[in-house]
């Protein structure tokens, strides 16, 4: 082996580590700057319409089916929640704020008793125009929901454009949700 090749060979480990370090640095920066989550799971629904379902209403509200969100008048949100879920409770002020600003939010109560749902809505406020009950949890499986709360953004043509798992925060609303409403309105 020529001396130069030998030297280059001995530099390979350094090069690998430098490249790896730069990658990690980028990941960490993005985790801080724009809420980048390296393990975020994509929703299989993005770019598609929700699969067929018909769910009854709960707490006196009207339920809905997939046909009802095929062509909403304006972009809307579908929010999965449950009375037994703590992050859902944390999310309620944010949802109330969004609803107050004129955004349409429909809710789906996931595996919840009607009484418990009613009690929850009475205590934490009701931001939803329609509330469906997915008592069996089958619709949630078809949507690919992996935990409550989960929020879906549906555009005017009924196509899912965005999904957020977990409680909505001001930061998520400002940095991700509001640009979507501007883009699809």
């Amino acid at each position: 082996m020529s001396p130069l090749r030998r030297r280059l060979l001995f530099g390979v480990p350094l090069a690998v580590v430098v490249a790896g370090g730069a990658g990690f640095y980028t990941i960490l920066r993005r985790m801080q700057v724009d809420d980048y989550d390296p393990h975020a799971l994509p929703s299989p629904l993005i770019g598609k319409r929700p699969p067929a379902f018909t769910l009854p209403g709960t707490d006196g509200a009207q339920g809905f089916a997939n046909t009802d969100i095929e062509a909403p008048a304006k972009p809307m949100l579908v929010n999965w929640f449950a009375s037994w879920c703590l992050p859902c409770q944390q999310e309620t002020p944010m949802l109330a704020k969004l609803a107050a600003s004129g955004i349409t939010i429909w809710g789906i109560a996931y595996q919840d008793h009607p009484d418990a749902t009613a009690d929850y809505l009475a205590r934490f406020g009701n931001p939803y125009q329609r509330i469906a009950a997915d008592a069996s949890g089958l619709t949630a499986i078809n949507w690919g929901v992996y935990g409550v709360p989960e929020t879906y953004f549906i555009d005017k043509t009924g196509i899912v454009r965005w999904r957020y798992p977990g409680a909505l925060t001001q930061q998520v609303v400002d940095s991700q949700l509001m640009p979507l409403f501007r883009k699809y309105s």
């Binding site: 030297r7 001995f10 480990p13 370090g21 990690f24 640095y25 990941i27 960490l28 390296p38």
Partner: protein
């Protein structure tokens, strides 16, 4: 008051470590005897400061001093004393302080035990250790301070995660950390050698015991961790290819390679640059293993919640330590020329082969672990790499290692003949082949291959030992006498290989495991693995800081009950969490394992498992670690044989 003292001592340790690092690195260049003598002294002071600081934190835990945020958040006065102590390292900040303590302990051991080392090499080794320690102490002090105070203190602590209240976990981190951190000494020796510009047989002999002791602890730590997840967490498995497990496996793989490679340096003065690279890689992987999993980049069940600013600090530290050492390697290592020459069939070649395959496995595991976050970053795709990938890629690479492990130790140095070696191993090979044929016919191929491979390694190891003591060729008493006069390193090596074989047997046995999830009402029974499993009763039982529901499950064969197990669900009222206390019965060769997963409508949801071979996995790990310790007690290592081969002082290039 005591926590303030601990905090102050920690700050002092940073300064001492920094001075130790600078004096240790610059001293040999200045050729100032005072500087060379100061390095060990500073190391001991630095160790004392950290040890006292750590004691202060333990003290705060013991007396439940809730003005310390760390104690208030992760402990409480109702936690038993032992867990108040071990809880100190059961959280992020405390565990890093423990890490630093072990690092400084390693330094102190080199300072005290390394009197035979050339003064310049010792100063350099201590200097490198000091700099590394300084970096991580700074991290502790600035962004992860375990002594942060809160005022007013809460009346009661938040309590301890119930999963952590277990003896297995209490001792798993210190053992594992000793393994990780011990490789810092091999690393420091490698950097020291690069600075000195020379490596010889004596260097190999100094490094090997350090690599060996770390390897023993790492092996024991991984075994303990695997055993703990198996019996406490009730996961029913022993290895999940979780990023944190991989992070421990990687330094183990390269450390094992290092161990074998250092023998070649010691005996034959070959593979020098490669050994140095392995020493750097092993410690780098240990560092990444401990710290990268805390940054939130890798998804894992083990994660400690860590803030991103800690992540950047850690990344900078890792970058300086690893990048710096590899830069030094790129500049200096090309001048390290090997001396020994060897034939394609020889002990050296067998060890090179071992290195190639171990490093190939390490590369595969490394890629599999880091690919998901990088694929996301570069291509924006989401994927997860799990057990199927690792099983399919690691198993084919483990095959050649298993084959070569049997033959390697019987080969001679420089040039060997394959035929006589194979003649000595005909019995082991024959039995392994027989196992393979019989099991392929009755069970599935993977289990057959695994059991045959395990049998081959164990029997080849035993053959090696039997040959050395001339068993059956001389009277038994004489043969046993020869066993005691064998070099301990030879016994240790054979034990290490046998232990690995035993683990392989266990892992292969586990591929035949059967399990089922059933809901039984009291009085009902089910069939699994040739046994009948009956739920007799579900009842309440009291516990110290939890309440529990216990299921009585009896297991019988042919209408005859031979075992009753009592799996429990523990409800920790303070945290509102539930843990499953699995009931495991082992007879040394197989486990019967019942988890009481849930209770519904008067019935119990039980997870029933029949695990043939499971105990062998940990038994094998234990034998491996014992083999390592046996080898450590070898006379050559104990009395510091390098004494006789003292280097000329100041021979630095």
């Amino acid at each position: 008051m005591i926590p303030e003292l601990g905090h102050f001592l920690l700050a002092m340790a940073v300064v001492l470590a920094c001075v130790q690092g600078i004096i240790g690195i610059i001293g040999p260049t200045l050729k100032d005897p005072r500087a060379l003598a100061a390095a060990p002294l500073l190391t001991l002071l630095h160790f004392t400061a950290i040890a006292l600081s750590f004691l202060a934190l333990v003290w705060a835990g013991v007396v439940s001093d809730f003005t310390v945020e760390n104690i208030a958040d992760f402990s409480s006065s109702i936690v038993p004393l032992m867990y108040r102590i071990t809880g100190v390292w059961g959280n992020h900040d405390g565990s890093i302080l423990l890490w630093c303590l072990i690092l400084s302990l390693c330094g102190a051991a080199v300072a005290l035990g390394g009197r035979q080392l050339p003064a310049t090499l010792r100063a350099r080794v201590l200097g490198v250790l000091g700099l590394v320690s300084c970096g991580f102490l700074l991290f502790t002090l600035s962004v992860s301070d375990p002594f942060t105070r809160i005022w007013p203190p809460p009346l009661e602590g938040a309590g301890m995660n119930p999963i952590l209240q277990d003896p297995g976990l209490a001792f798993h981190p210190p053992v594992l950390y000793t393994g990780y951190v011990g490789f810092s000494v091999a690393f420091a020796f490698a950097i020291g050698a690069l600075l000195e510009g020379r490596i010889d047989a004596a260097w190999g002999r100094w490094v090997r015991p350090w690599a060996l002791i770390s390897w023993c602890f790492l092996t024991a730590g991984i075994t303990l961790g695997s055993w703990w997840s198996y019996y406490t967490l009730g996961w029913g498995g022993y290895w999940f290819w979780d990023p944190v497990e991989n992070a421990a496996l990687l330094p183990w793989l390269t450390g094992t390679a290092l161990l074998h490679c250092a023998i070649v340096v010691e005996k034959r003065e070959a593979l020098k640059a490669w050994t140095v690279l392995l020493a750097i890689a092993t410690f780098s992987l240990s560092l990444s293993g401990t710290f990268l999993v805390r940054s939130g980049i890798l998804n894992s069940v083990h994660s400690f919640a860590a803030a991103p600013d800690q992540g950047l600090f850690i990344l900078a530290l890792l970058g300086i330590t690893i990048g710096g050492s590899l830069l030094l390697f790129a500049i200096r290592a090309p001048i390290l020329a090997g001396a020994g020459i060897y034939a394609p069939i020889s002990r050296e070649s067998a060890l090179v082969l071992n290195n190639i395959f171990l490093c190939a496995i390490a590369a595969v595991v490394f890629t599999g672990t880091l690919y998901p976050p990088f694929a996301n970053l570069l291509f924006g795709i989401q994927l997860s790499v799990g057990a199927p990938f690792f099983n399919q890629t690691v198993l084919p690479l483990a095959g050649p290692i298993i084959l070569a492990m049997g033959v390697g130790p019987l080969l001679r140095w420089k040039r060997a003949d394959m035929l006589p070696v194979l003649q000595r191993l005909w019995l082991a090979g024959g039995i392994a082949l027989l196992v393979l044929i019989i099991l392929t016919a009755t069970k599935h191929l993977i289990a057959a291959l695994g059991l045959a491979g395990g049998a081959w390694v164990v029997l080849a190891g035993l053959t090696d030992l039997a040959d050395r003591i001339r068993l059956f060729r001389v009277p038994l008493g004489q043969a046993l006498g020869r066993l005691f006069s064998l070099p301990r390193a030879a016994i240790g090596a054979a034990l290490g290989h046998i232990g690995f074989g035993v683990s392989v047997l266990g892992i292969a046995g586990m591929t035949l495991a059967q399990q089922s999830v059933v809901v039984l009402k009291p009085g009902q029974s089910t069939e699994l693995g040739g046994y009948s499993w009956t739920l007799n009763d579900i009842h309440d039982a009291p516990g110290p800081n939890y309440s529990q529901r216990v299921a009585d499950v009896s297991i019988g064969e042919g209408g005859h009950t031979f075992l009753t197990l009592h799996p429990a669900r523990r409800i920790f009222t303070a945290q509102g969490t539930t843990t499953n206390d699995a009931a495991i019965h082992t007879n040394g060769l197989q486990d019967i394992y019942v988890v009481f997963a849930d209770e519904q409508n008067g019935g119990a949801e039980l997870r029933l498992n029949w695990h043939p071979g499971a105990p062998l996995i940990w038994f094998g790990g234990l034998i491996m670690a014992l083999g390592g310790f046996c080898s450590l007690s070898d006379r050559r290592l104990r009395v510091g044989a390098p004494n006789r081969k003292r280097l000329p002082k100041g021979a630095a290039a």
